[in-house]
């Protein structure tokens, strides 16, 4: 255990992440509306030592009831429409929606049009889009900070 902790602290020194300048926070609820799994795999590295997105006050929360932001990945399938709307309606106001990745932004890139609704925008008001296929963890953080900068006291 000690070796593991020592190795990690070496890694942290090596990466030497910037200190954040804003003192704000956002609680994020993730919802996969029909993704290919790529956005999820990049998102799961956000809390890794290389990105440590918690230092900006960003965190993934376990319930939409706790969330400020609904982070939606993937093209919206008909089957995921209802769960997505339910997650959104469970969130306290004010609430924001972020469409993450090209599928969530452009809708059905490929696939059967009878069973795909398309872009997140089709069913929810989108406040921010983060492009990429998938967006890298850096791009996700940049996007979320952009959103954070527009919120609360300057």
């Amino acid at each position: 255990m000690f070796t593991l902790i020592r190795d990690l602290s070496k890694v942290r020194k090596l990466i030497d992440l910037d200190k954040p300048t804003m003192r704000k926070s956002l609680s994020i609820r993730h919802c996969d509306a029909g993704s290919c799994n790529g956005c999820e795999h990049e998102l799961s590295l956000l809390s890794s030592p290389c990105y440590d997105f918690q230092r900006y006050g960003l965190s993934i929360v376990a319930s939409p009831r706790h969330a400020d932001v609904l982070l939606v990945t993937g093209t919206v399938t008909r089957t995921m429409r209802e769960p997505l709307l339910r997650a959104y309606s469970s969130m306290p106001e004010p609430r924001k929606v972020v469409a993450l990745g090209d599928c969530a932004i452009d809708g059905a890139v490929l696939g059967d049009n009878d069973i795909i609704i398309g872009a997140v925008e089709e069913i929810l008001p989108v406040d921010l889009t983060i492009r990429g296929c998938p967006p890298s963890p850096d791009q996700v953080i940049d996007g979320m900070l952009e959103l954070l900068a527009t919120l609360g006291p300057k």
Partner: protein, 465 residues
């Protein structure tokens, strides 16, 4: 492809299973005129067994091949084919039906249901789990996936063979190389092409790089599953390193777009090669050190042993593939004997005490990681240049590609219609393994389910398609 003139479809299937052929998928063809089942022999050669649909019915084979359960349910939902003898034929892809139709009703006084999903408390793909529990003990689990069914197979029909790879790529980012390769190989069989030695080498490198980041990710998730943040962070760092390596090799962190039908445009010069080899050898040292730490950490080990046991018999019956099958003592790996990739003397490894529990599944991945590092070491001995296929002069109407991806065997069948796709069927390793998760969770504690689930670490995306 053989038709069922001489004997009945069921007799043929019984014969094949009795002669050591493995089931590798079943699907409806055309507009549902027939059902095709895929069987693979010991050397990895695939054959299709066809059965004509008469009055929207075919005989079921689930009693002979329990692994065909999901396939038959899917073919019923998508093509309306009724599988006689498959009772109850519950919906799989179709989500319109009522709860009683797809789940088992609870029985017993103290039994209650716990419904989880489709959206989850973390960064997890969408899928629904319905547990029957008494206290914390799981009695039964129904998994309901296909929330993300995008109809990729259907949408690919009539597209030309070369561009069809885009649909396969969209199925799943974590398995983009394995799925892409199985499709590319199927198309090359149809087009009468054989990959050159250089193309075999570059594809094998890509496949092993995909295994590398996936196995590292599985170990990171395993640590998260027992709540060991420091282990998770350490392995997540290595996953990031692996993605950067992928980016250096292919220009994409998940190697997406690196597999093309008939060719590869990837090139790595000797200078870049030296950097890569250095990074990989550093990574190996880190994995060795981290794993040693985990091996001697009793609070980590205590959570793994004896949990989520999938014994050999059940794993064989359910047709489990990949590291999860090998962790249950099944020596089966599609890399062994594969003559169109660069796995010349490859022999599968088995972890020492593989009894099919969570512990053996993690240990199996570690054993395979050493193999992957060794393979990459050998394959990256010289610069990589763009490569092509050579014509064999023998085109075929149907191609089957079988690839051992990180999660196990992926099978892709392509039926051609001239130069375009008539029917595309992709059966990923996750598709084969999901029934195993449900099976081995029974008798375990509900709080251990996330760990059991992570010890399989299956995709939803390439199952749903």
């Amino acid at each position: 492809m053989s038709n069922t003139k001489v004997s009945t479809y069921r007799e043929r299937v019984e014969y094949l299973i009795g002669n050591s052929m493995r089931f590798a998928g079943l699907y409806g063809t055309g507009q549902g005129q027939s059902v095709a089942s895929v069987f693979v022999d010991q050397s990895g050669k695939a054959m299709l067994e066809l059965c004509e649909v008469v009055d929207a019915k075919v005989p079921s084979i689930v009693d002979i091949v329990p692994a065909a359960q999901w396939d038959e349910r899917e073919a019923h939902d998508l093509y309306g084919i009724v599988f006689e003898g498959h009772e109850p034929l519950r919906p799989l892809v179709n989500h319109d039906s009522r709860l009683e139709k797809w789940t088992v009703a609870t029985t017993g006084g103290d039994v209650y249901q716990v419904a989880v999903g489709p959206t989850h408390a973390g960064i997890i793909e969408s899928g629904h789990f319905r547990f029957h529990v008494v206290g914390d003990r799981i009695l039964h689990l129904d998994t309901r996936l296909f929330y993300k069914h995008r109809g990729l197979e259907k949408a690919s029909e009539t597209k030309d063979l070369t561009s069809g790879i885009e649909y396969v790529k969209r199925a799943c980012m974590a398995c983009s190389v394995a799925n892409g390769l199985s499709y590319a190989h199927a198309c090359e069989v149809i087009l009468g092409l054989r990959p050159s030695m250089e193309l075999r080498r570059v594809r094998t490198i890509l496949l092993e790089l995909e295994r590398l980041w996936n196995h590292l990710n599985d170990l990171a998730q395993g640590c998260a599953g027992v709540g060991m943040a420091v282990g998770n962070a350490a392995f997540c760092y290595l996953v990031e390193q692996a993605r950067q390596i992928n980016n250096k090799v292919s220009g994409h962190r998940f190697l997406a777009g690196s597999i093309r039908v008939g060719a590869s445009s990837i090139s790595v010069d000797s200078q870049e090669l030296e950097v890569l080899s250095g990074l990989l050898s550093e990574m190996r040292t880190s994995v060795e050190s981290h794993w040693r730490e985990l091996t001697f950490n009793s609070s980590f080990q205590d959570r793994l042993q004896g949990v989520g046991i999938l014994n050999r018999e059940k794993a064989l019956k359910l047709g489990i593939v990949g590291p999860c099958a090998r962790a249950s003592g099944i020596i089966q790996d599609a890399r062994n004997g594969c003559d169109w990739l660069a796995y010349d003397d490859f022999q599968p490894v088995l972890t020492r005490e593989g009894n099919g529990d969570v512990k053996s599944r993690f240990e199996q991945r570690i054993e395979e990681l050493w193999q992957t590092f060794d393979l990459l070491d050998g394959l990256l001995s010289r610069p990589i240049s763009p490569a092509n296929c050579d014509p064999t002069g023998v085109p075929a109407p149907v191609g089957v590609g079988i690839v051992e991806g990180a999660r196990g065997q992926t099978t892709c069948v392509v039926e051609s219609n001239g130069a375009s796709i008539g029917r595309l069927h992709l059966r990923s390793a996750s598709y084969a393994n999901w029934p195993g998760v449900a099976c081995c969770s029974v008798g375990n504690l509900l709080p251990d389910f996330p760990l059991i689930n992570k010890s399989f670490e299956l995709c939803y995306a390439c199952v749903d398609r």
